[in-house]
Amino acid sequence: MLPLSDRVACEDVVMFVNAAVTSTGQREFRAGAAEQRMSLAFLHDYVLGNYRDLYAATLALDVNHFNAALVVTNLLRTARLADPQRRAVEGRLIAARLRLLPPQRVYRVFGELRRLGLNNRRTRAIIRDWLAARPDPALDAVKYRRGFSVAARHAHLALPTELGTVLFDWRRPKRYDTPILETWRRAHYEQRSLYGLPYTVAEGLAALHGIDRAKFLTGIAPMLTGGERLRLQSSARRLGVDAVRMDLSRAPLTRLASFVLSLPRAERIERRDELTGALVAAARRAAGRQAGSWGRVVAVLDDSYSSSGSGEKRRRPLAVALATHFLLGVLAADYTGLWLRHRDDPLLVRAAGATGLGERLVDGLAHRPDRLVVVSDGWDNAPPGQAAEVLRIWGTRLDPERRTFVVHLNPVYDSDNFDVRRLGPAVATVGVRDAEDAAALVELARFATGTASFDELRRHLDDRVARFLANEPGRSAVQEPARPEVAA
């Protein structure tokens, strides 16, 4: 038995990682956005106050962008509480994480720093270094104009002449020498030029010029980033714009699952082969070399009404379940996916009905798999608590040697408990945001059951940090938007 303090510390950290992976501060099925943010803010303060080194180390894990930004802000906010050595490590972690974040998130962090009145030499250096590493500051000045100008003012940046002019006095010059800036200037007066701009910028200018939406989409299609292209699929199809069409299998798995679920069922049936093919291809890419290495796997997937998410996170839990279904299909040598109610093609699944996990768990366990993966928000209500009982009895009576590894992936943060909702005390529960990360998260799951010691957890985190910082310089931003080719 572990000492109590160790167990508590272990649980606290795992709890925080679960929260930081799942919660995005948006409305969930049961809790509103304000509750989520308040709960999360408390949790951040708590972990920061008690386990500062581990708090910083979570930057090396797959916490989501929203929480990574919060961690960075909080670390900078309380930097004076850390000794110089710690500050050096934190600085490297922050720099590495900022490089991984999408630029708009980073600019939001800078805006937040400004709002907090946080302006010291170290902070300014962090902003300066990040901006210096940006591949094309001129593009940033156009695409993230507001955020860039805030950061520039806040960090007292010395900007090259044209950049300063375009941010703070753009109407003055008759022309710019930097091509993207010139394109942007011309786009204010000339429709043709705006097709050389990033989509988000061009969209506003197109509205200003009153350009027909279909025509605009056709023209801007080459400039779209992957995410934008995926978002525009349905509306482009409606408008009959062919240029926006994409190879769906290039989209990230969970995003793609969300997109598939957003389609009407009739269309899903009509495009069944295309969509299934894309999902399988995306799953293959996500699994990489691990494909086929998981042995016999059974998944119990929650398609109850609560998996419909909220207005802000539409069908997110269901999309995670669907993506996990395809990912496990690739990861496992022998895979069986069991939905709570749905029986047919998984593509046609919809969120409805109560959450009767207990019965399906028995169905799954009857296969005696190597791994049983449960994807659910943990609100087992038909009858309440039956899943916990099934898993308890399975562990004590039918599988005392633990041949079956049971893991519960929970896509929903429960703001009342400061954690994802657990099925039972003996079940390893981890938060999940993207199904792609499932493999890495399962690794962390063993710390959640209280079987691993705090030292092990610390070693695991140190290891992750070391790996994270090792490929520091060579690693470029993953979420980098496609660089538009600048029109002359």
């Binding site: 019965e359 038909a382 009576r397």
Partner: protein, 407 residues
């Protein structure tokens, strides 16, 4: 659950027969102080359906009501819809059974909304009449007024009965937590009804013939009426406990055992004996009035015995020839409302004769008069009689040194 009266039209005690209701209970879902217990129907009743006009034409998830010629449709009490030829909204007065083929609009009360309400109507959302109207309707349907023109009653009471008669109630949206509880409730596929508890006091029951009807009517529970007791409980009690299931370790030796144990646990929920609804189903009902009969379906209204220290539910019920419960909607009266109902009931039993009623209640004429006044029925009595009683009470009250409310 056959609501046939015991003998002819004589009011007498009557109980529910739950065994023939065709319903089983499902596991409840708890959110804060609100407990929602689904009532499931293995076999939906298909020959009584919600009136097709009440379905949202834009909602594709609802299956079209089958085209069979012989089914009866029902329109719940106080349901707002554009019944009239010109499309203006109207509310039904009392639940009605109609032949959908007849094309005749149901009896209703035309409603005149302000612009805001009218705009909301355009969304064609299913809803019941807001606030007091529905409950007044219930009570107005039940109570006529003095049948004999005793001289103590005002002319108005004799000619018009209790109308206008108002009772205070809270809309569901004013009850904290109810909106969220209804929003996140996961409707079972075969669910045909719900029991709504607040702080484990039964607040309302809704039963419909078909799951599609239930899905259509589920959101209307929020616009529904609840007594002040429910409102207070929702404020006072933060949460109710969840009944978590418990499996027996000792019986499990194999997966098959585990499956059997799970099934046994699930079956434990089915029995209606687990319901906390004895106040509704276990109580005796003073009057059950058969209102309408159509193709074997019987629509009745029931009144509780108005015991101030027990639950009192008024409501409407439709049963079919087999005694299955096809439709049920109840409203829980508050203690004050039950007291008023009790007084009216006693008066009715004695043909509104003050002396006879007073004797039956073990008081005198002045005591009963004052009691009626305090219950809010002062306007029914002639003012001179009321004043005399008040004066008498004041003097006797002064004698005993108690302070009385001044008039």
């Amino acid at each position: 659950m056959s609501p046939t009266r015991i003998e002819g039209s004589a009011p007498g005690p009557w109980r529910w027969d739950l065994s023939t209701s065709g319903l089983v209970a499902g596991p409840d879902q708890v959110w804060g102080a609100v407990r929602l217990q689904p009532l499931l129907r293995a076999e939906p009743i298909t020959d009584l359906r919600l009136h097709p006009r009440l379905y949202d034409p834009d909602d594709l998830s609802l299956v079209a009501v089958d085209r069979r010629t012989s089914y009866v449709s029902y329109i719940p009490h106080a349901f707002v819809a554009s019944w009239t030829a010109d499309g203006s909204p109207a509310a039904t007065y009392g639940t009605q059974l109609v032949d959908p083929a007849a094309g005749r609009p149901p009896r209703g009360i035309g409603l005149h909304f302000h612009r805001r309400m009218a705009r909301r109507e355009e969304k064609r959302r299913l809803r019941f009449l807001p606030l007091h109207l529905a409950l007044e309707g219930y009570l107005g349907l039940q109570f006529g007024g003095p049948p004999i023109a005793w001289q103590e009653w005002t002319r108005r009471a004799v000619t018009r009965g209790l109308s206008p008669r108002s009772e205070a109630a809270y809309a569901g949206s004013e009850i904290p937590g109810l909106g969220d509880a209804l929003r996140i409730f996961e409707i079972h596929p075969d669910q045909c009804g719900v029991l709504l508890y607040v702080a484990d006091a039964l607040a309302a029951a809704l039963v419909v013939p078909h799951p599609d009807d239930y899905r259509a009517l589920h959101p209307t529970l929020l616009g529904d009426l609840y007594g002040e007791l429910v409102h207070q409980y929702a404020h006072l009690y933060p949460a109710v406990p969840e009944f978590r299931s418990r499996l027996d370790d000792d019986r499990v030796h194999s997966v098959a055992d585990l499956r059997a144990e799970v099934a046994r646990d699930r079956a434990g929920w089915d029995g209606l004996r687990n319901l906390l609804a004895d106040g509704l189903f276990g109580a005796e009902y003073r009057t059950v009035e058969e209102v309408y009969r159509m193709n074997g379906f019987v629509l009745s209204r029931f009144l509780p015995p108005f015991h101030p220290d027990r639950e009192n539910h008024v409501g409407e019920v439709v049963t079919d020839t087999d005694g299955r419960l096809a439709y049920l909607k109840t409203f829980r009266l508050s203690a004050a409302q039950a007291r008023r109902g009790y007084l009216l009931g006693r008066l009715g039993a004695h043909d509104w004769d003050l002396d006879a009623t007073a004797a039956a209640l073990g008081t005198d004429r002045a005591g009963l008069t004052l009691r009626l006044d305090r219950a809010g029925f002062g306007h029914l009595l002639r003012p001179d009689i009321l004043d005399a009683c008040r004066a008498q009470a004041r003097t006797s009250g002064n004698r005993t040194g108690r302070t009385r409310r001044r008039h």
